[in-house]
C-alpha cells in the first residue's frame, strides 16, 4: 500500500517536476510570470490525443515532435506578446504586473479556443494500458514510459544548464540581467530562449500527462497553480529545487488522494503552499 503510493506518487511527481522546471525557466530567466502556462500544457495534451486517435501516431513520437513545436510557439509568443511588454517596462517592476495581466488574458483566449474545438468533456487515451510489476506493485506501463520521458528530459536539461556554455549564459541572465550585457551576453535573445525553452518543457509535460491521465479544457488553472507552488517551494530559478519539490508534491498529492480523498488534491497543494509561505518563503532549498 505504502509502496504503491510511493511509486504512483513518483510518476505523478515526474510530470509535475517537468512542469515546474519550465515555469521556473520562464520566470527566472525571462522574468515573465506566465499564468497561461497550464493552458499551453493542455494544448500539447490535446494535440497528443488527436494525433493518437486521428493519425494513429505513437505518443512517444508525438512528444518528440511536441518539444520543438513548443519551443517555436514559445519563441513566437515572446516575440509577439512578451517582448513589447519587456521593452515598455524597461527593466522596471511594471513588467511583473503587465505580464500577469497579459497572460491572464491569454489564459482565457486559449481556454476559449480549447472549449470551442474540444468541448468541455474529459478526454483520455488508452495507450500501453497493461500492468507492469515494479517491486511487486502493478503499475500501468504508460505511467512508466511517461516517467522515463520526464527523467530523460529533466535530467538532460539539468546537465545542460550546469555544464554547457549555453547553460551558463542562461544562468547568468537569471542571476543578473543588468550585468549580463557587460560580459557580452545578448540578454533579449537569452530571455527569449528561456521563455521558449520553458514552453517546450510545458509541451513535453502536457504530452506525458495525456499518456496516463484524463484531463479537460478547463483544467489549466490547476496545473499552473501546482507548477507555481512547486517553483516557490523549490526557490525561484532553482532548477534542482524545482525537481525535488515537484517529486515531493506528486508524493503528497498521491498520498492525500489514496489515504483521504481524491477530491482534496488542490487543498493539499494549498496546504503545502501555506506552510512554505509562513515558514520559508525564499524556498525550501535556497541558501540564505
Amino acid at each position: 500500500m505504502l509502496l504503491t503510493t510511493l511509486i504512483l506518487g513518483a510518476v505523478l511527481g515526474g510530470t509535475y517536476a517537468l512542469l515546474a522546471l519550465g515555469l521556473t525557466l520562464q520566470y527566472g530567466i525571462a522574468r515573465i510570470m506566465n499564468l497561461a502556462y497550464g493552458e499551453l500544457t493542455l494544448i500539447a495534451a490535446f494535440v497528443l490525443v488527436w494525433a493518437f486517435q486521428g493519425l494513429g501516431l505513437s505518443p512517444i513520437i508525438s512528444i518528440l515532435l511536441l518539444a520543438p513545436a513548443g519551443y517555436l510557439v514559445g519563441w513566437a509568443l515572446y516575440t509577439v506578446m512578451m517582448g513589447p511588454l519587456v521593452r515598455r517596462a524597461g527593466g522596471s517592476g511594471r513588467l511583473e504586473v503587465d505580464s500577469i495581466l497579459a497572460t491572464f488574458g491569454l489564459l482565457f483566449l486559449i481556454q476559449g479556443v480549447l472549449l470551442l474545438t474540444a468541448g468541455p468533456n474529459f478526454t483520455s487515451i488508452s495507450y500501453l494500458d497493461r500492468g507492469v510489476s515494479v517491486f511487486g506493485v502493478s503499475v500501468a506501463a504508460n505511467k512508466l514510459v511517461a516517467f522515463g520521458i520526464c527523467v530523460v528530459a529533466g535530467g538532460a536539461l539539468v546537465v545542460a544548464l550546469a555544464r554547457t556554455r549555453w547553460g551558463l549564459t542562461l544562468r547568468a541572465v537569471a542571476l543578473s540581467p543588468v550585468s549580463a550585457p557587460l560580459v557580452g551576453i545578448d540578454v533579449n535573445r537569452t530571455m527569449r530562449q528561456g521563455f521558449a525553452l520553458g514552453t517546450a518543457l510545458a509541451a513535453v509535460a502536457g504530452g506525458t500527462l495525456a499518456m496516463y491521465q484524463t484531463f479537460s479544457a478547463t483544467g489549466g488553472v490547476v496545473f499552473t497553480m501546482k507548477a507555481l507552488v512547486i517553483v516557490i517551494m523549490g526557490g525561484v530559478g532553482n532548477v534542482g529545487g524545482a525537481l525535488a519539490a515537484g517529486l515531493a508534491l506528486g508524493l503528497v498529492e498521491t498520498f492525500v488522494a489514496t489515504a483521504i480523498d481524491p477530491g482534496l488534491t488542490l487543498a493539499a497543494t494549498f496546504a503545502i503552499f501555506l506552510i512554505v509561505l509562513l515558514w520559508r518563503p525564499q524556498g525550501l532549498f535556497r541558501r540564505r
Binding site: R88, G105, L106, L109, V221, D261, L266, A267, L274
Partner: protein, 304 residues
C-alpha cells in the same frame, strides 16, 4: 464650486438610478442590476489593487463565498443576519489570505489569489458530497429584483464613497506611496503589511457582500455556478479599462463592458471567451492605465 459639483452630480445620478426601477421593464431592471453589481465589484477591486498594483485574481472566490453563505443559511436565519455572517466570513477569509501573503512580495499574493477560487470550490464540493450528501442548494427568499437592485446600488455607492474618503485620508496616501515604491514607503514609516491588510479586508468584505446580495437571483446554487472564473476576469478588465487608480475609472469601465458582454454572451455563446481574452490583451497593450489616463494624455499633447 467644483467641490459642491463633484458631490452634487453623483448624488443626483444616485437618486435617478434609484428611481429607475419604477419605470424600467423586467429585462431593463436585470441589466441595471448587472451593471450595479459589476460597478461595485470593479470599484471594490480597484480600492485595493488599483493603487497598490497587487493584482487580485480572486474576486469570484469572495463573491462566490458570499452567495454560498446565503444558500446555506437562508432558511435558518433572518436575512440581515445572513448578510452580516457573509460579511464576517469574507473578512475572515481575506485576513487569512492577507496575513499569509501580504508581508511578502506581490507575486506570492497573486499566486495565492490565482488558485483561491478553485480551492474553495473544491473544499465546498468535497464537504457537500461527503458530509451533507447534497450538492446544490436552493435560495427561497422573499426579495424582489427591485429590492436586490436597491441593495446593490447602495453597496456600490458606499464603495465609491469609501474609496473617495480613503483617498483623502492618510491611509489613501500610504496606499499611493506603496504603489509607487515600497522601499520608499517603508522608509517613510508606513507599516506596509498593516495598510495593505486593512484595505484588502475592506475590499474583500464588500465583494463578499455583493455576492450575498446578488445570490437570490440564482434560486438554485451549486459550487460550479457561483465560482465562475469569468467574474474575476470581467472585474479586472473593467477596472483596467476605466483606470484602476481613479475614483470613477472602474465604474466607467464596468457600464459599457457589461453591456458588451451581455450582447456577446447571448449572440456568440461559443466564441465569447475568445473575444474576451483578445479584448483583455488589447486593453493591457493599448490602454495600460485606462481610458481616463489616455484622454488626459491626449489633451496634454494637444496643448503642447
Amino acid at each position: 464650486m467644483r467641490k459642491t459639483l463633484s458631490l452634487a452630480l453623483p448624488l443626483a445620478a444616485l437618486v435617478l438610478l434609484a428611481a429607475a426601477p419604477l419605470v424600467a421593464s423586467a429585462y431593463q431592471l436585470g441589466l441595471l442590476l448587472g451593471m450595479a453589481t459589476y460597478v461595485t465589484l470593479a470599484s471594490a477591486w480597484a480600492l485595493f489593487s488599483g493603487h497598490t498594483r497587487y493584482i487580485s485574481l480572486a474576486t469570484v472566490a469572495f463573491y462566490g463565498t458570499g452567495a454560498y453563505t446565503v444558500a446555506v443559511l437562508n432558511e435558518s436565519l433572518p436575512y440581515p443576519v445572513v448578510l452580516a455572517v457573509a460579511g464576517v466570513i469574507g473578512a475572515g477569509l481575506a485576513l487569512v489570505v492577507g496575513l499569509s501573503t501580504l508581508r511578502l512580495a506581490g507575486i506570492y499574493f497573486v499566486i495565492f489569489s490565482f488558485g483561491l477560487s478553485e480551492l474553495i470550490r473544491e473544499l465546498i464540493t468535497w464537504y457537500e458530497v461527503n458530509v451533507t450528501g447534497t450538492l446544490g442548494r436552493y435560495i427561497f427568499l422573499d426579495i424582489t429584483a427591485r429590492g436586490i437592485y436597491w441593495q446593490m446600488l447602495a453597496l456600490g455607492a458606499f464603495t465609491i464613497g469609501l474609496t473617495a474618503w480613503i483617498h483623502r485620508r492618510r491611509l489613501g496616501l500610504a496606499l499611493r506611496v506603496i504603489g509607487d515604491d515600497e522601499t520608499v514607503a517603508a522608509h517613510s514609516g508606513i507599516h506596509l503589511a498593516r495598510v495593505k491588510l486593512i484595505v484588502f479586508v475592506l475590499a474583500s468584505t464588500i465583494i463578499t457582500l455583493a455576492g450575498a446580495i446578488a445570490s437570490p437571483r440564482w434560486v438554485y446554487v451549486e459550487p460550479s455556478i457561483v465560482f465562475n472564473p469569468t467574474v474575476s476576469f470581467l472585474t479586472v478588465i473593467m477596472a483596467l479599462l476605466g483606470g484602476a487608480n481613479r475614483l470613477w475609472g472602474p465604474a466607467l469601465g464596468a457600464v459599457p463592458l457589461f453591456l458588451v458582454f451581455e450582447w456577446l454572451s447571448s449572440d456568440f455563446p461559443d466564441t465569447y471567451p475568445i473575444i474576451l481574452g483578445l479584448l483583455f490583451i488589447a486593453v493591457v497593450f493599448v490602454l495600460p492605465n485606462g481610458v481616463l489616463a489616455g484622454i488626459e494624455r491626449l489633451r496634454q499633447r494637444r496643448k503642447a
